[in-house]
Symmetry: C2
Subunit: 234 residues, 2 copies
């Protein structure tokens, strides 16, 4: 347990919540976290700043994003509950990207000193972190390949399919998902414009593949057709 002083957003008493780490190897760390919440739009890490923390997301969704000189930003990664962000070491260089809350977020912050001590005591933890990082690398490379060649339709369909897979535990024939992103955010993530994203959604709806009952909800009426649309030029 870390006996840091609490602030409006940090409450040491909540650290037990941090025990919800999927990975058993990371259990030793779980007890050491400081609970913290972020409001939608709040950024935890800013590109260029030194990275002082390492954290694990409990609830909510964050984006890793790169804002280019022209001001438009690109989402180069999404962080879901269970994902780590920041770095466990102090010696790492400046942050390469911003990390911003897309929804209200609750996370478990680990001071780097704690992580470091913990890693020395539990070598399996470091390996687990390396394994996760390598998996993430493979995943980002997959995204890279999609951005390189896939059509707008395939990108949108792929995003819906992936979100449904991640969100909806049920594999019912007809499944309904609440997309966690606005059209604009989807555009930033998929390298498209808002209009194009919207058009492709309409197209999928017109083809009877999905239903759009309103808001950000999507009903997957034909999972196979959706998967096929996603594969198109993947």
């Amino acid at each position: 347990m870390v006996f840091g002083k609490s602030c409006s957003n940090c409450d040491v008493r909540d650290s037990a919540l941090c025990g919800v780490l999927a990975d058993a190897a990371l259990a030793p760390l779980a007890a050491q976290g400081i609970h913290r919440t972020l409001a939608r739009g709040e950024s935890l890490i800013r590109a260029g700043d030194p990275i002082r923390l390492c954290a694990n997301i409990q609830r909510g969704l964050m984006k890793i994003c790169h804002t280019n000189p022209a001001g438009q930003d690109v989402i180069v990664g999404l962080l879901w509950p269970g994902d780590f962000l920041g770095t466990p070491f102090a010696e790492a260089g400046p942050a390469p990207h911003d990390v911003v809350a897309l929804t209200a977020v609750s996370l478990c912050v680990f001071p780097q000193a704690v992580v470091e001590r913990c890693m020395v005591a539990h070598p399996a933890m470091e390996r687990s972190l390396l394994t996760r990082t390598m998996a993430e690398l493979a995943q980002v490379r997959g995204a890279l390949s999609r951005l390189a060649r896939a059509t707008a339709l395939a990108r949108v369909a792929g995003f819906i399919a992936e979100t449904a897979h991640r969100r909806g535990g049920t594999d019912a024939a007809v499944q309904s998902v609440e997309l966690p992103l606005s059209r604009g955010e989807m555009a930033d993530l998929l390298g498209l414009t808002i209009e194009t994203v919207s058009r492709q959604m309409t197209r999928l709806k017109a083809a009877g593949v999905i239903g759009l009952p309103g808001g950000r909800r999507v009903v997957i009426q034909d999972p196979d057709a959706l998967a096929e649309a996603a594969e198109d030029a993947l």
Copy 2:
């Protein structure tokens, strides 16, 4: 030293060469490598196969590539001398991508058992590997952001600039680089077509930014203009 039996491409006697690892923390590993060479086009890892090895590139260039159902492939990463490939652990899942030699390659292969033993003995090594992997992740995310928004000209200019930076140690006003990739490979890397790559090169040449004396050689006549072209919509 590993006393494995030698094969046409493996020669234990060459393992001393493997000492050329940039990172001091990885020195303990250096003595344990098995030297191996690959011909251009030979693939060391195939997507879907279990990954049995971990290696460090000594000389030459490799591509990490994803071949989609349609048969076109996308280069999702380049591996330069000093870079690691594969995974240090046996428990990792199937390879997410192919890894293929773009030139004749000489590398230093580390059997996973050896790496594992070595990592237990030298914890700093595991950290070094984690740091490298995180750096690579940041780099791939940078590429992702470029593919999402940059124009064809910016992609090509960026690639030339980056290659020059990596290759040519000299920062002379006029610098000359031998591009390690064919136009087709550049297209696969940048998410463009051969024709578009060629046109952008011609455009840069016409603008006096670069010279194309022949073959794969590029003379950088105006580094500032090249950098500016690369930033365009980065």
